[in-house]
C-alpha cells in the first residue's frame, strides 16, 4: 500500500499525533522528513490512509502540521 507523509512541526507533536491516531486504530509511523518537505531537520507521520482525512483528525485535536505528500 502506498504511504503518504505528513510533515510535523516537531518530534513532540509527531509522537502526540502517533499516540492519538493509534488510539483511534489508525496505523502510522514517525519517520524522518525528506528534504523536499522540510526546512531542515524534522519528523513526519507515515500513513497508509488518505492524509487529508488524517489531517482533519489532527486539526480537531489541535495538533499542527506543516505539509503533506500523497503516496
Amino acid at each position: 500500500m502506498p504511504k503518504s507523509l505528513i510533515a510535523m512541526t516537531s518530534i513532540t507533536y509527531a509522537m502526540k499525533a502517533k499516540r492519538l491516531l493509534n488510539e483511534k486504530g489508525i496505523y502510522c509511523e514517525v519517520v524522518r522528513t525528506p528534504k523536499n518537505l522540510a526546512t531542515g531537520c524534522g519528523y513526519s507521520l507515515s500513513v497508509t490512509k488518505d492524509p487529508r482525512e488524517i489531517i482533519l483528525v489532527l486539526e480537531d485535536n489541535g495538533i499542527p502540521h506543516r505539509s503533506f505528500m500523497k503516496g
Binding site: 516537531s10 507533536y13 526546512t39 531542515g40 531537520c41
Partner: protein
C-alpha cells in the same frame, strides 16, 4: 547517614529510578529527536513517555512540558522570558534566590521594576498585599507555593485568580510543593516551575517548566532543537523552543520512574507521612524553652520545620548533627528574602525536611541529639 535534607534533594531515590538511569545509559544512548535513526528514535520515545507522565501529573498539554536542568532554570526561563523587554513584577517576601536574583538582575540591567509583597500568616492579607502593589505596568506576579525555609504554604490559588483578574501572568515556584501538595495547572498558575529531583524523586539535573500556553515567552537560550534547522530563528513550537541542545535522557528517564513512585504512593499519603514526622519533631522541640521554631499560628505548612537552638548558630547545630550521622541544612537555604522576613539573616535556621523514605525511629534518634544540644551537653 540519615538524610533530613530532602528539600535540597531527595535521597535515597527509589530503586526504580536507579534502574531507569542504568537502563538509559545502557540502552537509550541516542540523541533524542535529532538524527532520525533507530537509536535516536528509541531515545526520543522514552523522553516523550516521561513528558506524557509529567503532563498528566500537572494536568498540562504534553507540548507545554519542557525539561530543564532544575527549578532555577525553569524560573529563569519564565521570569526572563516574560520580563526581558521591561515591565514591573510583584514577588513574594518568601522567594528563593532562584526567583529573586533573576528579578534583581533584570532590575539592574534591563530597567524593570519590582515590588515585594509580604506573605502573612493570614492568606487574605497576603493576597491584599499583592493586590496593592500591582500597577498598570505589571506583567507578572511571582510566588512560591511553599517556602523552602519554613515550608509556609502561600495562597497560590487565590493569587492566580488575582493575576487572571488583572490580565497578568502568574509564575509559581513549586520546588517544595511538587509531589506533596498535588499542585496542577487547574490551580490557576500560568507557569509551574519545579525541580524533578526533590518531591518527584528524579535524579539531580532534572526540572520542569510547565505552562498553560497563554503567555508566550521570549527565550533565554537558543540553539539546536532538531526542527526547522535551515532557519536562523528559534522555532515557536514548544517544547522544543525551550529545549535547545541535547536533553538529559538519563535524568529524564529516572524522573519518569520518580513520577511513577509518587503516583503509586499518592501525594496525599506522602504528605501525611512527612507531616507526621514533622509533628513528632515539633512536639520534641516545644519541650525546650531555648528552641525557636519558625512557624506562625494560622499559617499552613508543607512538611518542613525550621528552628534554632538557643544562641548556637544554625551551622554549629547542623555541623554537630552531621558528626552524629544526620544531614540537615543550616544557613540561609539560598533565600535572602525569606530570612530577611524572618529576621534570621545573621543566624540562618536549621531546616528539617523528611521524605517518603524517613521514619519515626529515625526522627526519635535525631531528637535525642537535639535534646543534648539544647541541654548544652553537645557543642
Amino acid at each position: 547517614m540519615i538524610n533530613f535534607d530532602n528539600s535540597a534533594t531527595t535521597f535515597p531515590k527509589p530503586q526504580s529510578v536507579k534502574n531507569a538511569v542504568a537502563l538509559a545509559v545502557e540502552r537509550f544512548g541516542g540523541n533524542p529527536g535529532r538524527s532520525g535513526h533507530e537509536i535516536s528514535r528509541a531515545a526520543a520515545e522514552q523522553v516523550y513517555a516521561v513528558r506524557e507522565k509529567a503532563a498528566k501529573l500537572f494536568h498540562a498539554e504534553v507540548e507545554n512540558v519542557a525539561f530543564t536542568s532544575n527549578c532555577t532554570y525553569a524560573l529563569n526561563m519564565a521570569i526572563k522570558g516574560l520580563l526581558q523587554y521591561g515591565g514591573h513584577t510583584v514577588i513574594s517576601s518568601l522567594e528563593h534566590n532562584s526567583a529573586s536574583r533573576p528579578v534583581y538582575n533584570l532590575y539592574q540591567n534591563r530597567g524593570i521594576t519590582y515590588s515585594i509583597a509580604r506573605v502573612e500568616s493570614d492568606d487574605e492579607k497576603t493576597v491584599n498585599n499583592f493586590k496593592q502593589l500591582i500597577n498598570s505596568d505589571t506583567k507578572c506576579m511571582i510566588c512560591t507555593a511553599a517556602s523552602n525555609v519554613t515550608g509556609q504554604i502561600t495562597p497560590y490559588k487565590e493569587l492566580a485568580r488575582l493575576a487572571h483578574e488583572r490580565g497578568i501572568a502568574f509564575v509559581c515556584d513549586c520546588a517544595q510543593a511538587s509531589g506533596v501538595l498535588g499542585i496542577t495547572l487547574d490551580d490557576g498558575m500560568d507557569f509551574i516551575c519545579t525541580s524533578g529531583h526533590k518531591g518527584l524523586y528524579g535524579p539531580t539535573g532534572t526540572g520542569l517548566l510547565i505552562t498553560n500556553g497563554k503567555f508566550p515567552l521570549s527565550t533565554i537560550i537558543e540553539g539546536g532543537t532538531g526542527t526547522t534547522s535551515a532557519l536562523l530563528t528559534q522555532p515557536d513550537i514548544t517544547p522544543e523552543r525551550f529545549e535547545s541542545g541535547t536533553v538529559n535522557t538519563v535524568g529524564i528517564m529516572g524522573l519518569g520512574k520518580g513520577i511513577d513512585f509518587v503516583n503509586s504512593k499518592g501525594q496525599h499519603r506522602i504528605r501525611t507521612h512527612e507531616q507526621a514526622l514533622c509533628e513528632q519533631l515539633l512536639g520534641a522541640l516545644e519541650r525546650h524553652k531555648g528552641i525557636t521554631v519558625y512557624r506562625s499560628e494560622g499559617a499552613s505548612y508543607a512538611p518542613i520545620v525550621a528552628f534554632n537552638i538557643g544562641e548556637y548558630s544554625s551551622e554549629q547545630v547542623t555541623g554537630y548533627l552531621n558528626s552524629r550521622g544526620f544531614a540537615l541544612r543550616g544557613g540561609l537555604q539560598c533565600s535572602a528574602l525569606a530570612h530577611h522576613s524572618l529576621g534570621t539573616l545573621l543566624t540562618g535556621v536549621v531546616r528539617f525536611s523528611p521524605s517518603a523514605f524517613n521514619d519515626s525511629r529515625q526522627v526519635s534518634m535525631l531528637i535525642r541529639e537535639i535534646d543534648k544540644v539544647a541541654a548544652g551537653r553537645a557543642i
